[in-house]
C-alpha cells in the first residue's frame, strides 16, 4: 500500500530570508531517512514549513537476521539456553559451518517496521536539525532550539497521525489559518490540506503568492525588484498589492533617498511615470485580501509622509554644515576600536590616494568621503553612506569628479555591481578598501569561515574588480605587501583573485592556476594572459606542448637542476637536439601563439630521440640548460605545467 505523507511545522513568523534554505535542509534531512517515496513537495509561508511526499510504504520490507549460537559440540543445556534466549525451540535451530567450525544458528525473521513508527521516532530529530543562522530557545534554557517557537505540528501518514512531541507540542491533524482571517484550529486530511488552508486565507505555494502579486500589479508601472518581491512573498500568507501616493513636492528630495525609504524601510515598490522618472506613488503589499475602506492605504501613506518629512528635515539640517567643515567631527566616529577614528582613516586614505597616483580631485574626494557619516541623513539611512556624501558635495559646489568620487567610493558592493564611474573615483574607492584591508589584517581582524564582520571579502573582491575592469596597472602585491602588512593578506588576496577569474569570469581553474603561477602583481596583465591561454587552449598543439612542459619541469626537478653552467652550443648533438635549439633561436621573443605550431614538433621529436640523461655529465648539464631556457622563455605568460591534460 502506498501512502501520502504530510508534515507541517507551525512556527511563529520565520525571518523571510531564511525560509528557502530551511526547506532545502528539511528535504535533505527527510531523504536521509531512506524511506522509499515517489515525490517530495516543499512549501512555506511565514508561519509554516511544509513537506509533502507521495507513495510511502505502510511498512518497511521484512528481513532475516542470522544469529550464531554455541558450537555444535556444546552441551544440550547451553543449546537450550540459546534457543530460549532467541524465543525459539531447540529444534528450530540449524547447524551452520563457519571457518571457525560448526555452530548452532537461528534465523530470525524481522518484520518490517511500520513507516509510521519510523517517522514518529525520527521526525523530532529531523525538525530540530533544520539549520537556521540564528536560533532561540523558548521553553527555557534546557529546551529545544529553533528559529522561532513551534506552536503546532501536523504529521499525517495517510489518514493516521504520526505521533510525536516537541517542546510540549503534539503532532496532530489540526492546522491554523491566517492570523486574523482564518480559524486557529482547522481539521485537515492530506487530500484537502491545501484547499482548507485557502478557505482560511492562506495561500500555501510561494509561487502562487508571487503570481498573485504580479497579476494584480498588471498595468501598474512599478519598478520591478526581485529581491523585494521575494521578501514580500515570504512575509505574507495572503498577499495583495495596493497603490498609494505621496505629495509630489517630496520629489524635490534626491531620488536615491526616496527610493531607499520606500524600498528598505517600508518595503514598497517605487512607481515610474511615462518618461521613466520617479512618480509620486508607491505599491505596498498587504497580508489581507482587500482594503475596501482604504485604511491600509491611508496608514501607509501617512507613515511614508512622516518618513519623507524626516528625510527632508535631515536633508535641510545637514546642509547647514558643509562636508568640508565636518572633517574634524570624524574624530568622534569610530572606524574600529584598534584602528582609531574615521579621521585617522581619512588621513591614511588620502596618503594612499597620493601613492596610487590620484589627482587633486581624488585627494579632495578622499578628504571628504567619510564626512557624511556625521550627517543625520546617513545616521538614519546608513545604506546611503557615500551616496549622501556625494549628493551633499554636489549641492555644496564641489567639482563633478570630486562629488562623483565620493558618491561611488563604496562601489562595487558586489561582483555584479558596477565599478566607480571614472579613474578619480576608482582611485578613491581602491584607497579606501585597501586601507580597511591592510588595517584589519594588521590588527588580526581576519575573516574565518562565515565570520567576516568587516566585509573584508567584499572589499578585496572590490579591489580586484576595480583593478581589472578599470584597467589599472597598479602593482597589487606592492600595495598589500608593505613592511607592516600581514603575510596573510597576500594569501587572502590570492584567493579573491582566483575566485574572481574562475567563478565570476569563468576561466578554467587550471588556466587560472597556470597564469597566476607566472605572477599576479598586475591584474590587467593577468587578464590578458588568461585570455591568450583561453584562445590557445583549443588549438591542437596546446595540450601536447603543455604536457611536454610538465615533463620538462619534472626532469629539471628530478635532476635538481639549479642552472649555473653557461650554455655551450658546441655540445649539442646533431639532429633533434640541435634542431630544437635552432628553432628556439628563431622563435625566441615571439608570442607563443605564432610559434606554437613550429615549436611543438621539435619538442616532441627531441623527447622521442634524445636521452636527456646523457652519460657525459657536461652534455647532460647542457641539455638541462637548454630545456630550462626553453621553459623560462614561454613561462612568462603562464606556468603550463599547471594545465591539466589528458595525455
Amino acid at each position: 500500500m502506498s501512502l501520502p505523507f504530510l508534515l507541517e511545522i507551525g512556527v511563529e513568523e520565520i525571518p523571510d530570508w531564511m525560509v528557502r534554505s530551511a526547506l532545502e535542509n528539511l528535504r535533505l534531512l527527510f531523504e536521509k531517512l531512506e524511506i522509499p517515496h515517489e515525490s517530495v513537495t516543499l512549501d512555506a509561508t511565514p508561519r509554516r514549513l511544509v513537506l509533502r511526499a507521495e507513495g510511502l510504504p505502510a511498512r518497511q520490507a521484512d528481513s532475516e537476521e542470522r544469529v550464531l549460537g554455541p558450537a555444535a559440540s556444546a552441551p544440550e543445556k547451553a543449546v537450550a539456553g540459546f534457543a530460549r534466549k532467541q524465543g525459539a525451540r531447540p529444534e528450530d535451530l540449524t547447524i551452520e559451518s563457519t571457518p571457525k567450525g560448526k555452530y548452532y544458528s537461528f534465523v530470525r525473521k524481522v518484520a518490517g517496521r511500520p513507516t509510521k513508527d519510523i517517522l514518529a521516532e525520527a521526525l523530532p530529530g529531523v525538525i530540530l536539525e533544520i539549520y537556521f543562522p540564528k536560533t532561540m530557545y523558548w521553553t527555557g534554557k534546557s529546551g529545544p532550539r529553533f528559529i522561532r517557537p513551534i506552536r503546532w505540528i501536523v504529521a499525517l501518514l495517510g489518514e493516521e497521525i504520526v505521533p510525536f512531541e516537541i517542546a510540549g507540542v503534539r503532532a496532530g491533524a489540526l492546522t491554523a489559518g491566517h492570523r486574523r482571517l482564518g480559524a486557529r484550529e482547522i481539521a485537515i486530511t492530506t487530500a484537502d490540506y491545501e484547499q482548507r488552508l485557502r478557505d482560511h486565507y492562506v495561500i500555501l505555494s510561494a509561487e502562487e503568492r508571487r503570481g498573485k502579486i504580479l497579476k494584480e500589479l498588471k498595468g501598474v508601472p512599478y519598478k520591478p525588484d526581485h529581491g523585494l518581491l521575494d521578501t514580500l512573498v515570504y512575509l505574507t500568507e495572503f498577499p495583495t498589492p495596493i497603490t498609494g501616493s505621496f505629495d509630489p513636492r517630496f520629489l524635490e528630495l534626491p531620488e536615491e533617498v526616496l527610493v531607499t525609504v520606500m524600498r528598505h524601510h517600508q518595503r514598497y515598490f517605487s512607481v515610474e511615470d511615462a518618461e521613466g522618472r520617479l512618480a509620486p506613488q508607491f505599491v505596498a503589499v498587504m497580508n489581507i485580501p482587500s482594503d475596501p475602506e482604504g485604511f491600509v492605504r491611508r496608514g501607509n501613506e501617512r507613515v511614508l509622509r512622516a518618513r519623507f518629512n524626516d528625510a527632508r528635515f535631515f536633508w535641510e539640517t545637514d546642509q547647514k554644515k558643509k562636508l568640508a567643515d565636518r572633517v574634524p567631527d570624524l574624530a568622534h566616529v569610530t572606524f574600529q576600536a584598534k584602528l582609531g577614528s574615521y579621521l585617522e582613516k581619512t588621513g591614511r586614505t588620502v596618503e594612499l590616494v597620493k601613492e596610487l597616483g590620484g589627482d587633486a580631485h581624488a585627494v579632495r574626494a578622499a578628504q571628504l568621503c567619510k564626512c557624511d557619516l556625521t550627517t543625520e541623513l546617513v545616521k538614519e539611512f546608513t545604506e546611503l553612506q557615500g551616496v549622501v556624501g556625494g549628493l551633499y558635495a554636489r549641492a555644496q559646489g564641489e567639482l563633478e569628479p570630486v562629488w562623483q568620487a565620493i558618491y561611488d567610493h563604496y562601489k562595487p558592493e558586489s561582483l555584479e555591481d558596477a565599478i566607480p564611474r571614472h579613474r578619480t573615483a576608482q582611485i578613491v574607492a581602491l584607497a579606501d578598501k585597501l586601507d580597511t584591508l591592510r588595517g584589519c589584517f594588521r590588527v588580526g581582524l581576519i575573516p574565518s569561515g562565515s565570520r567576516d564582520p568587516f566585509a573584508l571579502r567584499r572589499a578585496a573582491q572590490g579591489v580586484v574588480k576595480i583593478l581589472v575592469e578599470g584597467k589599472l596597472e597598479l602593482p597589487l602585491l606592492d600595495l598589500i605587501g608593505g613592511a607592516g602588512d600581514s603575510a596573510q593578506l597576500k594569501d587572502f588576496f590570492e584567493d579573491r583573485v582566483r575566485y574572481y577569474f574562475r567563478d565570476y569570469r569563468g576561466f578554467k581553474y587550471d588556466e587560472v592556476n597556470a597564469a597566476m603561477a607566472a605572477g599576479w602583481n598586475n591584474l590587467v596583465d593577468l587578464l590578458e594572459r588568461l585570455e591568450r591561454i583561453q584562445n590557445l587552449r583549443p588549438t591542437p598543439d596546446f595540450e601536447p606542448l603543455a604536457a611536454s612542459f610538465k615533463r620538462i619541469r619534472n626532469i629539471l626537478e628530478q635532476a635538481q637542476f639549479t642552472g649555473g653552467a653557461e650554455f655551450d652550443p658546441s655540445l649539442l648533438e646533431a639532429g633533434p637536439e640541435r634542431e630544437l635549439y635552432e628553432e628556439y633561436q628563431r622563435i625566441a621573443g615571439q608570442p607563443i601563439e605564432s610559434v606554437i605550431s613550429r615549436l611543438r614538433p621539435k619538442v616532441d621529436l627531441f623527447f622521442d630521440k634524445v636521452l636527456v640523461n646523457a652519460p657525459d655529465a657536461r652534455v647532460r648539464q647542457n641539455r638541462l640548460t637548454l630545456l630550462n631556457t626553453l621553459l623560462a622563455e614561454f613561462s612568462t605568460i603562464a606556468d603550463f605545467s599547471e594545465i591539466v591534460t589528458n595525455s
Binding site: P149, R180, I288, E293, V296, R298, V303, N309, H332
Partner: protein, 299 residues
Amino acid sequence: MQSFQEIIFKLKQYWAQRGCIIQEPYDVEVGAGTMCPETFLRVLGPRPYRVAYVQPSRRPADGRYGDNPNRLFKHSQLQVILKPTPEDVIEQYLGSLEAIGIDLRAHDIKFEEDNWEAPTLGAWGVGWQVMLDGLEITQFTYFQQCGGIDLDLVPAELTYGLERLTAFLQMRDSVYDIEWAPGVSYGDVRYNDELQYSVYNFELADIPTLWKLFELHEGEAARLLKLYDPKSAEKRRFPLLAAYDQVLKCSNLFNTLDSRGAISVTERVGVIQRVRKLAVGVAQAWADQQQPAAAEVAE
C-alpha cells in the same frame, strides 16, 4: 477619538486582566523600559512574573529641540513582560491592539525579523518589529540572555511605542499634535521638556561635572558589588537594587556625555565596558541572591 491617556488606560487594563502587575514608571532615568529593574532583574531566575508599566525613556541624542514631528528626547514606552511566555502570546498581543480599537481584519499586520541587543546590559533576544499598515508599533523580543546569564524561563518582552501608536490612531502627522487628554495636546504637556533638555544635552551640560558624576556613581556601584558576599546568611538584605540604581545613573550620564560629543573614539568602547561590567555584576549577584542561601539549604 481616544486620547493618549485613554489608550494607556486601556492597554494597562488589558494586561492587568491577563495577570500582569501594573507598575508605575521607575523613578531613575533610563534609556528604555528594559533597563528598569522590573525587567532587567526580574527576567533572571526561575520565578514566573508578569508586569506592565509605562516608562518615560530618555535618549539624549534623539532630542530635536521640539522641532522634529517624529523624534523625541523622551518618549513613552509601554513595557510588558510575560515570564514565562504563554503559548498564545501573539494572540494575546493582537488582542491588545483590538482592545484599543484596531480592527485587524481591516488592517495589515506583519511580523518582521528584528533582533535586539543591549551591549551595556549583556542582554540580547530575538523577535520582530510589528508593523501595522507600514508603521512599526511594537518591538517584540524573546529574551535569551540578560546580564550575560542564560535565562531559565524565556520571557516575552513587548514594547509599545505609545506616541507613534497614538499618532496612528488619531491620524496626526506630528507627535506634538496628538491629544494627550481632551483639549490638551502632547505639545502642551511635553514641548518644554524637549526644548530644554535638547539645550542642556547638546549645549550646556558641563562635561567635567558629568564625568565627575559618572565616576562617583561608578565608584559607589563598584564599592557595593565588592561587599556582596554570596556565602553570607544575610545576603538577602544586601542592597543590590541600590547598586543597580547607580549603574542606571552611569548609563544615563554616558548617553548625555555622548550626545554632548564628549566621548572620544578611544574612550567610547572602554566606557561601555565599564557600564557593562557593573550591570553584569549586579545581574549575577542578583541571580545568586534569589537562590536560597547555603545555610538555608543545609537546614
